[in-house]
């Protein structure tokens, strides 16, 4: 195979105004314009989207699954961050 690999892009869809863009998949395309057109054809054939974001896959910075415990475990012991940790006197009512 002499052809170079076609770059990979990640596709994010906003399904309607007011909602955030959400990752829905990826496409291959030579440039950003073609990536946007391919994403429209592949992921929005049935009114799934009002807006698209396309990001080069190589630009995504991801956490390593091996670091999951180191990164996210500490929050497990910090229950005082949750509102349910605190008691509000009954007389005060809803807060």
């Amino acid at each position: 195979m002499t052809e170079p690999a076609t770059p990979l892009w990640e596709v994010f869809i906003r399904s309607r105004s007011g909602l955030p863009h959400k990752h829905c998949g990826s496409v291959h395309a030579s440039d950003a314009t073609m990536a946007l057109q391919a994403a429209r054809d592949v992921y929005t054939r049935r009114g799934e989207s009002v807006s698209l974001w396309i990001v080069p896959s190589s630009a995504i910075i991801a956490s390593d699954p091996a670091d999951r415990d180191a990164l996210f475990e500490p929050t497990g012991t910090k229950i005082y961050r949750h509102p349910t940790f605190y008691e509000v006197p009954d007389e005060v009512g809803h807060m």
């Binding site: 195979m1 052809e3 170079p4 690999a5 076609t6 990979l8 998949g25 990826s26 496409v27 291959h28 395309a29 030579s30 440039d31 073609m34 054809d41 592949v42 992921y43 054939r45 049935r46 991801a62 390593d64 699954p65």
Partner: protein, 335 residues
Amino acid sequence: MYTQALNEKDAPFTTGRSDDPIKLERFQAIIDAEDKVEPNDWMPDAYRRTLQRQISQHAHSEVIGMQPEGNWLTRAPSLKRKATLLAKIQDEAGHGLYLYAAAETLGMSREEYYEQLLSGRAKYSSIFNYPSLTWADMGAIGWLVDGAAIMNQIPLCRCSYGPYARAMIRICKEESFHQRQGYEIMVTLSRGTPAQKAMAQDALNRFYWPVLMMFGPSDTESMHSADSTKWKIKRFSNDELRQKFIDATIPQGQHLGLTFPDPDLKFDAATGHWTHGEIDWSEFKRVLAGDGPCNRQRMKVRKAADAEGTWVREAAAAYANKRADRQRIAKIAAE
């Protein structure tokens, strides 16, 4: 059907050699807890290879599956039928793309998977090696082939591998349109002239057995699903899925006033299931091995499409390079 790859045996010299037993145990615990495995998570080599083979062959099936339907696109009987058939074929291309994307997360590029298809090293579903001879075949394919696909794919929505499961959820939503589109063609033909009804019957006669074969060999013959089951890639056996499909399909065919080409087909009131006659597995093996009615034609068309598209990909890459160069030069000039 599209899970025929799960009936293939892994290369024996590579199975379970390099896997650390502690990691393996942790991995199985994740699976048993119905948690999902994601692309960068540790996974056994055999799990990765099984999924690479399964997902890519599923993708190849979607891509090759456009051919039997494309055959009738220019001869669809009305503009409405042409538009819906075109939409369906476009969906198949989309399904192929979702699946290649899922397969790529396992560490192999789409180009490599595609090369395996073109070189004949990778297979695709046996069903697409049968010809579509009449317009009624568009009905039979949608109703039966996509119907069988749905039976097979709904459990795959709960597959332990996250990217595959997510792709399957999208695909299943769209397959339901395909099946209804096909059944509607069958309803129209069955209520039409005697010649139209005969055409529908002929399509059913030709597709019925090959569709049953899509589910793969009988459970007594297929010994390779133990790992797939343990890893929750496959959740039902070939025979279980085939039985579900038959039970759902026979009443639909009866509603059309058509008959099934199986003299041994009968309803067992005691079990509530339909029992069927013997499947001709020699035909299945022949088609899988490359000697079906259309194997050579399907590959020839696919290779030609790839070859004829080379200049488009090259031009797109050259244009992207040119633009990138110009931007770089403009940036230097501005500084």
